[in-house]
């Protein structure tokens, strides 16, 4: 499996990368870890004439926990997320989710930016970013632009990012309360049959805030405002959890594929969402 020919570029800063993108338009693509894009190129499902490798751009790397905000550079790898003690303390849901992505070799090179920017509904970070209320920071020829994770995804592989823009980082408020990222997959290395990210805060036995988002259950990640709202103000007992699961399942639109028919996926989604909510509450 040999990809079609391309020109390889390895700029050392963002402005140089943007200049190449501007010059070549949609004949150019940026390369992060490459573990989504290179397989597509090998299958010749992606034809790219100019490949812009971002690995030398230092300003796209790094994790900062500063005050109440966490910022993660687009070229930060899943392995670096897992390995970062400050991040594990401030937002443990990221470590829990990243450990469930692919396998060790893929996590050493797979990046946060690639995972969120590509628009693959199977990727785990988009749903997680929607759960956390993250903001994506893009740069293009006209300057920088911020897009809410909850507004970024339009359809499978279709996002709000323009062809001449690069995603430079993601940021989100330090999450509070209990968390869980629950994922059902057929085997290591597969995408989720269903996955769910939950953050819940409790005060005095009552839920004060809840955010619930799902992965690979529609052609985009799904953040269910209703499912979170159902929990708020309750004691998060079995009745409230059941209502939240029902609201979340009502928001998804899975399609049949080699992971199963629609009925099966809705069933698995219900199980996974319930587990995620229960585990998040148990940690709140």
């Amino acid at each position: 499996m040999i990809p079609a020919r391309f020109e390889y570029h390895r700029p050392s800063d963002v402005s140089a990368a943007l200049a190449i993108l501007t010059e070549h338009g949609d004949d150019a693509r940026v390369l992060a870890g490459g573990h989504s894009l290179i397989p597509m190129m090998k299958l010749r499902m992606a034809a790219i004439e100019h490949l812009i490798d971002l690995q030398d751009i230092a300003e796209l790397k790094g994790i900062s926990v500063d005050g109440g905000t966490i910022t993660i550079g687009a070229m930060t790898t899943q392995h670096e997320l897992i390995d970062n003690a400050d991040l594990a303390k401030a937002a443990p849901i990221l470590r829990e989710a990243a450990l469930q992505i692919a396998d060790p070799q893929v996590r050493y090179v797979g990046t946060v930016g690639g995972n969120v920017a590509n628009g693959d509904p199977g990727n785990d970070m988009p749903g997680l970013m929607q759960c956390l209320g993250a903001t994506f920071h893009l740069v293009g020829p006209g300057g920088t632009r911020d897009v809410a994770a909850r507004d970024y995804y339009e359809a499978a592989y279709m996002t709000d990012r323009e062809d001449d823009e690069i995603l430079v980082s993601v940021s989100f408020p330090v999450p509070e309360g209990g968390y869980a990222y629950e994922k059902q997959k057929r085997k290591i290395g597969d995408y989720a049959t269903a996955a769910c990210a939950v953050q819940v805060t409790m005060a005095g036995g009552s839920c004060t805030a809840a955010s619930i988002a799902m992965t690979n259950l529609s052609d985009t990640p799904i953040w269910s405002k209703d499912a979170g709202a159902v929990l708020v103000g309750t004691d998060c007992g079995p009745g409230a959890i059941g209502a939240a699961v029902d609201a979340a399942v009502a928001a998804i639109d899975p399609t049949e594929d080699n992971r199963g028919p629609v009925e099966f996926k809705k069933h698995v989604a219900g199980v996974v969402i319930r587990r995620a909510i229960e585990r998040a509450i148990s940690r709140a």
Binding site: P3, R5, D103, V109
Partner: protein, 163 residues
């Protein structure tokens, strides 16, 4: 794009190669440099038979362009041991029957080597999680896990004796 010159450090030795940017690292290693330890298994980044180390990370070399590895430090199974001087992991795989057909073994050992660098005293569960990106179709993994745990114990004992 025409062929380009790239320079890699492979098993401690500087190697200059000439290839198109679309050439995958596994093919450069095997076909240009005659380093045939890393194997082509699935060629779809699932099986891990092509695992090498790039700058201290375990990577599937079927999913990396040689161009991306330009300037990098690459270690393959050939850099860990030799027929006359087996690495502890190689010895333990032999001792514990950690291989049958042997096709996955270079990738397994290269991956296990990095795992033990990062976690010198892993539990059985940590070994299983750590080698989850390497598939073996013969052994059922039991003896692979045993071999890695035995290698960890021996490496730790040697380290203690040296201290």
């Amino acid at each position: 794009m025409a062929k380009q010159h790239y320079t890699l450090t492979v098993n401690g030795e500087q190697r200059d190669v000439l290839c198109e940017p679309r050439e995958l690292l596994i093919h450069t290693l095997r076909e240009q440099l005659d380093i045939t330890g890393p194997h082509v298994g699935c060629e779809t980044s699932h099986c891990g038979a092509c695992t090498v180390e790039i700058n201290g990370k375990s990577v599937k070399s079927c999913t990396v362009f040689t161009a991306q590895a330009n300037g990098a430090d690459v270690t393959t199974i050939e850099g860990l041991g030799s027929p006359d001087g087996l690495h502890v992991l190689q010895e333990k795989f032999r001792e514990h029957h950690g291989l049958q057909c042997g096709y996955c073994t270079p990738g397994m050992i290269t991956r296990a080597h990095r795992l033990l660098q990062e976690n010198p005293n892993p539990t059985e569960e940590e070994v299983r999680f750590g080698i989850a990106g390497n598939l073996c179709r013969c052994t059922g993994y039991q003896n692979i896990v045993k071999s890695i745990l035995a290698a960890a114990a021996e490496m730790n004992a040697a380290k203690e004796a040296a201290e």
